[in-house]
């Protein structure tokens, strides 16, 4: 079996001691930022990008990936213990997890979350290993038309992530695409939308935008609400779930894993959507449906399995096609480009150690998280007592240094500030920023493939529908758009997202 050999290669890389160390640093950092509200994996990865300049590509990706899935674990810990989801993907975990904690079953809830996540992580690693090679072979055959259609699928499905108005989400995509075009046109070398600024000729740095929006803008939103957070931490006495509880989490974990793994692969998917859908599905199919909302352990296991599976399988489109399915993956692409690696199908063929090492490290990291989380819970809970007045000035300092060091220029720091302020206003106007950021990243790729496809076809627009793969992808894109804008689905989405508030 080919994929077993590949995984073997991966583990031989992932188990080298430096790589184990970076994996450990990554998952620990991830857990910490997952626990601290107001600091997410996005801002963290963006701030820490300069830290990775001195590392090898494998090391830096292993660490950054660890931050991403580690934050899912941390986020669920606080969701369960103090009803304060550190990450949006663990919002639904808080519903039943916190009720369990109030009833004195916080320990088993944490165990259920960790075990379900670990199970999902193992399955997702296997899925990546099995799917990646054939998908990469397919990707090599992709031409410009196929890539264009695929990117459209990605953009349209990012609307599904938006909780508010669909037309506003589409507006944000267009705005992101437009701003993303800033810089020199690759075909004609004409500067576009630089407004005479020399610094903009190379385009707007993505790290500055991400740090501005998710670091600085987030702080402004948090400072709106004055007053500290209450620290009513639930007591954790025994961690071991009873045999009955263990039996009850098996099926939800498997269903959650399946949902998460599937949604994670879709562009625009990932951890957040997966956990919402898994919780709602579980509520429908569970034999224990009546207890949901009142401390059902199934309601903890399913979304936790789903968000971890989704977090991992969202690496598939990034690694095999070079297309980010969500904003964290976009940052990973940024990290690869800094290392001089162009993401896409060639990574698998030319750098198998990097690819399989990263995949294997995700399994290793998940195992570390399960082992580490239980003895360290006391420390994690204490982290919550750090007041925000200490935290946010520190975030500002790290944001500034991180952005500055990407290009060694103060200009990027200004860009981050402007992005933060504009992002804050847009959120105030009920716009949502993830579609904007995805548009910003995909804009240049979308335009390049569109223009190349039309050059190849001699200006014939029908190239997008006459090539079967491209046509199929366009159908998917259109169907996605129709489904999310159906009034019934729109209403469902609203309910789904509002429940979490």
């Amino acid at each position: 079996m080919e994929f077993i050999d590949n995984l073997g290669l991966g583990f031989s890389v992932a188990l080298q001691w430096q790589n184990l160390l970076y994996c450990l640093i990554g998952v620990l950092l991830g857990t910490v930022v997952g626990i601290l509200p107001g600091l997410g994996p996005l801002a963290t990865i963006a701030m820490l990008l300069p830290l990775t300049f001195g590392m090898s590509a494998t090391q830096s990706l292993i660490m950054l990936a660890g931050i991403y899935y580690g934050s899912q674990y941390g986020g669920s810990t606080t969701a369960i213990l103090i009803n304060l989801p550190g990450e949006s993907s663990s919002v639904v975990t808080a519903i039943d997890g916190y009720r369990m904690a109030q009833k004195g079953r916080g320990g088993p809830a944490l165990a259920a979350a960790a075990l379900a996540s670990f199970f999902a992580g193992c399955v997702a690693t296997l899925i990546i290993a099995v799917v990646a090679t054939p998908l990469t072979r397919l990707a090599v055959s992709f031409g410009a038309a196929e890539y264009f259609s695929l990117l459209l699928v990605g953009l349209f499905s990012s609307i599904a992530l938006a909780s508010g108005s669909i037309i506003k989400a589409i507006g944000m995509i267009c705005l992101g695409l437009l701003i993303g075009l800033t810089g020199t046109d690759i075909y004609t070398a004409v500067p576009r939308f630089t407004f005479g600024q020399q610094e903009l000729v190379d385009g707007i740095d993505f790290v500055a935008i991400a740090v501005g929006i998710f670091g600085i803008g987030e702080i402004l939103r948090n400072l709106e609400r004055s007053g500290g957070r209450e620290a009513g931490v639930a007591k954790v006495t025994s961690i071991m779930p009873s045999r009955d509880e263990l039996r009850r989490i098996v099926a939800p974990s498997m269903r959650g894993t399946a949902i998460g793994a599937f949604l994670g692969i879709l562009p625009g998917g990932g951890a957040l959507l997966s956990s919402f859908v898994a919780y709602n599905v579980e509520k429908k199919v569970s034999s224990n449906a009546a207890e949901f909302g009142n401390g059902a352990i199934e309601g903890v296991a399913a979304p936790e399995a789903a968000n971890n599976a989704g977090a991992q399988t969202s690496f598939i489109p990034m690694l095999s096609l070079g297309i980010p399915s969500n904003v964290v993956m976009a940052l990973m692409i940024g990290a690869m480009m800094v290392q001089g690696i162009v993401p896409g199908p060639e990574v698998l063929t030319k750098q198998p150690e990097l690819f399989w090492g990263l995949v294997a490290s995700m399994w290793v990291g998940n195992a570390m998280l399960v082992v580490l989380n239980f003895p360290l819970i006391g420390i994690w809970v204490r982290l919550l007592t750090i007041p925000y007045s200490v935290l946010f000035p520190a975030i500002i300092a790290f944001c500034c240094i991180g952005v500055y060091s990407v290009g060694n220029s103060g200009f990027d720091v200004y860009v981050a500030l402007i992005a933060g302020l504009i992002g804050y206003i847009l959120v105030k106007l009920d716009f949502e920023l993830p579609p904007f950021v995805l548009g910003f990243i995909l804009g240049p790729m979308l335009e390049e493939n569109l223009r190349r496809a039309l050059l190849i076809s001699g200006g014939d627009l029908s190239i997008f529908v006459t090539r079967p793969v491209s046509a199929g992808l366009l159908v998917v894109a259109v169907v996605t758009l129709i489904v999310v804008s159906l009034p019934a689905v729109a209403k469902k989405r609203k309910v789904l997202f509002n429940e979490s508030d």
Binding site: I219, L223, P393, I396, G410, G458, G459
Partner: protein, 152 residues
Amino acid sequence: MTLNWKDLASGLVLILVGLLYGYVTLETLPLGSVLEMGPGSFPIVLCSLLVAIGTIICASSLFGARESEFGRVPWRAVFMLSISILLFGTFLRQLGMFPSVFASVFIAAAAEPGFRPLPAAVIALGLAVLCSLIFLKGIGLPVPLFGSFFPA
């Protein structure tokens, strides 16, 4: 009839950006043809879409069912954080890592209404030491510890 001010403003923002960028595109970038798309063709499509979407949002705002709160803007935070970040971006080289981080953190801490100078100074000092250790000693960023404002 209830007017949803928030949606009206949102729509206007999109229309304005679309018009501004559309104007810049038409003035400076050749559109090209379908066979050979110029640097201006993709942007002009996006600008048209932005204006169209903005118009739809504006139109729907006239029949907006509910008005949502804009909420209060933390002006103090906006102001203090802006100064803190501008200072860092502008004077990092001249001030050096240690004083820059100290000043930026101290000013940023003043963004909160419950600001107290002494604890803030302690936090700023701690972070200045920490950042200098991590980013200069550890990673070796090409930034001086103390910049040219401080003659040696």
